[in-house]
């Protein structure tokens, strides 16, 4: 254990703390007035962070190789939970995505990301990569992703596929498959556009491409976030002084559009700083993956890395208008419990791997 503590990746932990603190400061600036009798958002976020850090430490303490024995159980359990949630959801409108666990609610779909990472890592890490591994890993992903898509939560379902894609890529997916997938996707776009998408979905995409076409309707947040970011300039309008953020023009600013608040109030400098923090974090994860002693551990790190990477890119992409709006939050930064706890536990697993990769060095 001491040896493990010596190996504790303080840089990783420090980066996480810095991002979380930055997030808390921005939530403080952006938070809307709380509803009656509720704690301010920033207080609630601090509680989430405390829970998240605890989860992170626990996740790093239990040897991940031990977890390997329970992977099957976790996987079956989460699929059962997702089915139950879906079945319950059919009878009681609206509440299906939330599951109450003790005193806080958590979305099982978030937890499914972690279970999928462990499952795929365990599977891919214990056999050579071939077409069979590709197929099985795809099915393992598609089952929870399908259930989540039906909830419906498209963004979480997509993030599961992002995790899978990242892991099979590192596992050695042949380049020609990648090219083939890209070509297939490109060819499918016209079909999806005309046959799969509904009229309102097509309109949403068009409005994403030209938000000014409907500035008060579906283009509203896009236009407002662009105005907010654009009005930030180099140094920003000053902490707590973003006119768009503070006047309520920007919706869901403490969750989905917190990056916009950073860009408006702290300007280009602040926004680049935030991007740099995430880049450092992911860079660090890649380093840990590189040095992992076993493939199982390496794939855990890769999975967590993709989980975070997907969310960072999609969220910032939405904020700067490169990605159509989805409900993806900025990990570790945006307000909200489920995602923060999921991310923390995931990073706990990474820490777990990092602490143990020097097992075979000679002291």
């Amino acid at each position: 254990m001491r040896r493990a503590l010596n190996a504790f990746d303080y840089a990783l932990f420090g980066l996480v703390l810095v991002i979380m603190t930055f997030g808390v400061l921005m939530i403080y600036s952006a938070q809307p007035a709380p509803e009656d009798g509720q704690m301010p958002f920033v207080t609630r976020q601090l509680i989430w962070i405390a829970i998240g850090l605890t989860g992170m430490l626990i996740a790093s303490a239990i040897d991940y190789r031990l977890l390997g024995y329970f992977v099957r159980f976790f996987y079956v359990a989460i699929v059962v939970v997702l089915v139950v949630v879906l079945a319950l959801g059919a009878t009681s409108f609206g509440a299906q995505r939330w599951f109450s666990i003790m005193f806080f609610t958590i979305q099982p779909s978030e937890l499914s990301k972690l279970v999928l990472i462990l499952t795929l890592a365990h599977y891919l890490g214990n056999r050579p990569f071939d077409w069979q591994a590709l197929l099985v890993s795809f099915i393992l992903t598609a089952i929870p992703a399908g259930l989540i898509f039906l909830q419906p939560s498209l963004s979480v379902a997509l993030s599961l596929f992002a995790i899978w894609a990242g892991m099979v890529f590192v596992a050695g997916l042949p380049w020609r498959y990648l090219v083939g997938a890209g070509v297939t996707a490109g060819a499918a776009i016209p079909f999806i556009w005309t046959q799969v998408l509904q009229e309102y979905q097509r309109r949403r995409v068009l409005i994403f491409l030209d938000p000014l076409a409907d500035p008060l309707g579906e283009g509203y947040n896009l236009v407002q976030s662009r105005i907010a970011i654009g009005s930030g300039g180099l140094w920003g309008q000053g902490y707590m002084h973003g006119s768009q953020s503070q006047l309520g023009y920007l919706r869901v600013r403490h969750t989905d559009f917190i990056f916009t608040v950073v860009a408006e109030e702290l300007g280009f400098v602040g926004a680049v700083l935030l991007i740099a923090l995430f880049a450092l974090l992911l860079w660090r994860l890649l380093g840990i993956a590189q040095r992992a002693t076993d493939r199982y551990g390496r794939f855990i790190v890769v999975g967590v890395m993709f989980m975070i990477f997907f969310q960072v890119v999609v969220n910032i992409g939405v904020n700067v208008g490169l990605v159509p709006p989805t409900g993806v939050v900025l990990p570790l930064f945006s307000y909200g419990g489920s995602n923060l706890i999921t991310m923390s536990i995931g990073l706990g697993l990474v820490q777990n791997v990092a602490m143990r990769y020097k097992r075979f060095t000679f002291e």
Partner: protein
């Protein structure tokens, strides 16, 4: 020292190491793209967006102009604008804890399904396997709750249209409930209401919201916007420019919810002009009924009646049956319903009098043939010709061979004997006009097709009359040249024969033929038929009066037209006249002409045209008339389309309908015939504008005196509490209570923003003595003054306000 990878093959490690290295590159590229995009937004486009942030609150809005209304010639209103109310919800303006209450209340008040489940149950109750319609096409969900969720997620500040065209009472109820229904808005719109529906549909037409195609064709200066309404048919279309008015513009400052904070600049709209038609509503109604009965009696699917004033071309009545209800187009019609109307085999959308391609006029065309022959000197008033029941036109190349000669029949096989033109018109001799037009060897030279076609054109046939209705048909006046080009055949004398009696290739519209009759009646002036008597602006000033529009003086000497008129009089009055026994009124001298026009209604296998039991071609029935004989005031045409089974004779089918209408015109309403001065009723209330919501509320809720006001002692007013409010906007609420602490209703309060030139807001206490205003913001003014003019002597209360507060105020006595 190298670590020992004892549990994995070396090639895996190598490959995975390469992949991880590649990932670093991917990471770098992706983050670089994000930063470049950020740079673009903040520095390259930054200025534009900064300006937009400042201009975010300012909007330019157009104010719709009230469309002109339409009256008949005596000022009876035919179409007006009525206020209609749309109920909207702005999801982003509904506080979360109020959502349930708001949605439940609205759903029950305006009667829309609260949830998809209810919608589904309702839809399948009326018709199993019936899918419920989406509430608002924008959200695609049939239930209000689900629709709201979609809106709240994707477009929080775009209003959801909960229901269009709700009842006045419901609109008012929603207005009353407004303080408890944040985010719910009632908008008033003007909507066309055609008071008589099908009776005037072919004349008035209808308006539809303009679509992209329309916009693409409209010129920019017309200033149409999507969903503006524009006339599509009838007078609504042809006088669109007059009716439409000019939209106003205003510059408003709006808050995030889209509510007006203040109006900075406003150009009021100019209402459209009001039209007074030349149509006599009562005649139109009577003629419609008469025609309907006449069609029913013979099983004819369609017909038309047109009455015009031969002295100036004013159209007194214009009936086309079947008709449709133009009210179904109000507010837009579904494409399938529109298609169904257009494809209806009874063609209710086609104006038989004006727009149908044209029908063979039959014997009523003999008016033209007679006038032309007289003018060209082919015959005189006295010229008598043999008119047997049949003549043989010798073959051109073998004149002596009787076998090859082509027979031409008269409708009366026994013949008419030797007749002059008046006899021929009275008895409608076909043979007489065959000979006059085409000539007959050894007897008469004949007018010839060129001359006949020329006169037909002079009488306005083969060309639109340019009546104020869109889609007018020109009909067809055939010429040898036309026949050569169209059929590749030479014109024959037989063709001339046919044309002489209004058959063959000739087609006309009922409107053209009534115009011919009018020209005969008035001595040779062809007027453009007009539908609009007067155009007035919204204040009642005459913008444009009526001036007769002469198409041409027909070059036929008055004495010849006199002869034709005599023939028409003989039709009605002589014992051998074809309309002698049609029951035409005798109180006034009527001149007329019957027509029984054969037409080809092809059999399903196209082998032949439909024939009656005796093997004769089926026919349309026509009758034209004018009256009184001296100084004609009305020219009338009745057209009864063939029923596909029988020979419908003009004298038996069409003339009695005309008799009915003329009797009404001259006997039931004789004042009209006397040429009474044009009596335009002053349209005081029905001016061309719709009521606004506020006006309706005003009429429903006239200003009241404060209730329960037992004392005239001045009230005290004080700010009793300040509470935090979760919205950015602040709220002012409070109560007015009398000496004994009971609530006082109907007290008007005035709230004035001190530091702004925004207009003051009026509040009124409800039956609980409470008032509520949820739009207080320092963005408008940081100091607001509340005064109570209804409570004399009560001092004003000055409030310094901040954001997100609730100010609770009490008036006590």
């Amino acid at each position: 020292m190298e670590p020992v990878y004892h549990d994995e093959p070396i090639q895996n490690v190598r490959r995975e190491a390469v992949r991880l290295f590649v990932l670093r590159g991917v990471l770098a590229v992706v983050f670089f793209i994000l930063i470049v995009r950020l740079w673009q937004l903040q520095f390259i486009e930054g200025e534009r967006y900064r300006l937009q942030a400042a201009g975010n609150r300012l909007r330019i809005e157009t104010i719709p102009a009230p469309r002109g209304v339409i009256y008949d010639r005596e000022g009876h209103i035919l179409v007006r604008n009525e206020a209609t109310f749309d109920v909207l919800i702005v999801p982003g303006a509904v506080p979360e804890e109020a959502v349930d209450h708001v949605l439940t209340t609205v759903a029950s008040l305006v009667d829309v399904p609260l949830t998809n489940e209810i919608a589904l149950a309702q839809a399948s109750a009326t018709q199993p396997s019936n899918a419920p319609q989406p509430l608002d096409p924008e959200c695609g969900e049939p239930g209000l709750k689900e629709c709201f969720q979609v809106g709240a997620t994707f477009a929080p500040y775009r209003p959801i249209i909960v229901k269009k065209d709700v009842d006045k009472d419901i609109a008012f109820q929603l207005k009353q409930e407004a303080p408890f229904l944040p985010g719910v808005f009632v908008e008033s719109r003007a909507r066309r209401h055609y008071l008589y529906g099908p009776l005037f549909s072919h004349l008035l037409g209808f308006v539809l919201p303009v679509n992209e195609t329309f916009l693409a064709q409209a010129s920019a200066s017309d200033n149409y916007e999507l969903n503006d309404e524009a006339g599509v048919s009838g007078v609504e279309a042809s006088l669109e420019r007059e009716l439409r008015g000019k939209k106003g513009v205003r510059l408003v400052e709006k808050d995030v919810i889209g509510r007006e904070v203040r109006v900075l600049d406003e150009t009021p709209p100019e209402p459209g002009h009001n039209l007074f038609l030349t149509i006599d509503m009562d005649l139109q109604r009577y003629a419609t009924e008469a025609l309907r009965k006449g069609l029913e009696a013979v099983g004819s699917p369609r017909g038309a009646v047109v009455a015009i004033d031969p002295r100036d071309g004013q159209v007194l009545a214009l009936v086309s049956l079947p008709s449709y209800d133009n009210n179904v187009f109000v507010g837009g019609i579904s494409p399938s319903a529109y298609e169904q109307l257009l494809n209806d085999p009874r063609t209710p959308m086609l104006n038989m009098a004006v727009s149908a391609y044209g029908f063979p006029p039959g014997s009523i065309f003999k008016l033209v043939t007679a006038a032309a022959a007289l003018q060209e000197g082919i015959i005189t008033r006295e010229t008598r010709l043999d008119a047997p029941g049949i003549i043989y036109l010798p073959n051109k190349y073998d004149p002596d061979n009787k076998e090859l000669a082509q027979p031409f029949y008269d409708w009366l096989r026994s013949g008419h004997g030797r007749v002059n033109v008046i006899d021929a018109l009275a008895r409608s001799s076909d043979v007489f006009f065959y000979k006059v037009a085409g000539g007959f060897p050894g007897e008469i030279e004949g007018l010839g097709i060129e001359k006949l076609a020329q006169y037909a054109a002079l009488f306005g046939l083969g060309q639109p009359t340019r009546i104020d209705l869109p889609g007018e048909s020109a009909g067809l006046v055939p010429t040898p040249d036309w026949k050569r080009r169209t059929w590749g055949e030479t014109w024959t004398t037989g063709d001339t024969y046919n044309m002489a009696i209004g058959q063959g290739f000739l087609t006309t519209t009922p409107l053209q033929m009534v115009n011919v009759t009018a020209a005969v009646a008035n001595g040779g002036t062809l007027y453009r038929p007009q539908l609009v008597y007067q155009i007035q602006d919204a204040d009642g000033n005459v913008v444009q009066g009526f001036t007769p529009d002469v198409i041409r003086k027909i070059p036929v000497d008055p004495e010849h037209l006199e002869t034709v008129r005599e023939g028409m009089l003989a039709v009605v009055q002589r014992s051998d006249g074809t309309a002698r026994y049609a029951g035409l009124p005798t109180s006034v001298a009527i001149a007329g002409k019957t027509g029984t026009a054969e037409y080809c209604d092809p059999l399903p296998d196209l082998s032949d045209c439909k024939r009656n039991d005796e093997g004769n071609l089926v026919t349309h029935a026509w009758f034209v008339a004018f009256a009184p004989y001296e100084n004609p005031e009305i020219a009338l045409i009745v057209f009864v389309h063939g029923n596909g089974r029988d020979v419908l004779e003009g004298s038996k089918v069409a003339a009695p309908i005309a008799a009915d209408i003329l009797r009404y015109w001259f006997e039931v309403r004789p004042n009209r015939a006397a040429g009474a001065p044009f009596p335009v009723a002053a349209p005081a209330v029905e001016a061309g504008r719709a009521e606004t919501t506020d006006e309706v509320v005003q009429t429903l809720l006239p200003p009241l005196q404060p209730e329960n006001l037992s004392s005239t002692r001045p009230f005290k007013v004080q700010l009793v509490r300040t509470l935090p409010n979760q919205a950015e906007l602040s709220v002012l609420r409070g109560t007015v209570r009398d000496v004994s602490g009971r609530p006082v209703a109907n007290v008007r309060l005035v709230l004035t923003p001190e530091e702004s030139d925004s207009p003051a807001t009026y509040l009124m206490t409800d039956t609980n003595g409470t008032f509520y205003y949820d739009f207080l913001t320092p963005a408008i003014s940081s100091v607001w003054r509340l005064s109570a003019p209804d409570l004399p002597g009560t001092p004003d209360l000055t409030l310094s306000i901040e954001s997100s507060q609730q100010y609770v105020v009490e008036f006590t006595n």
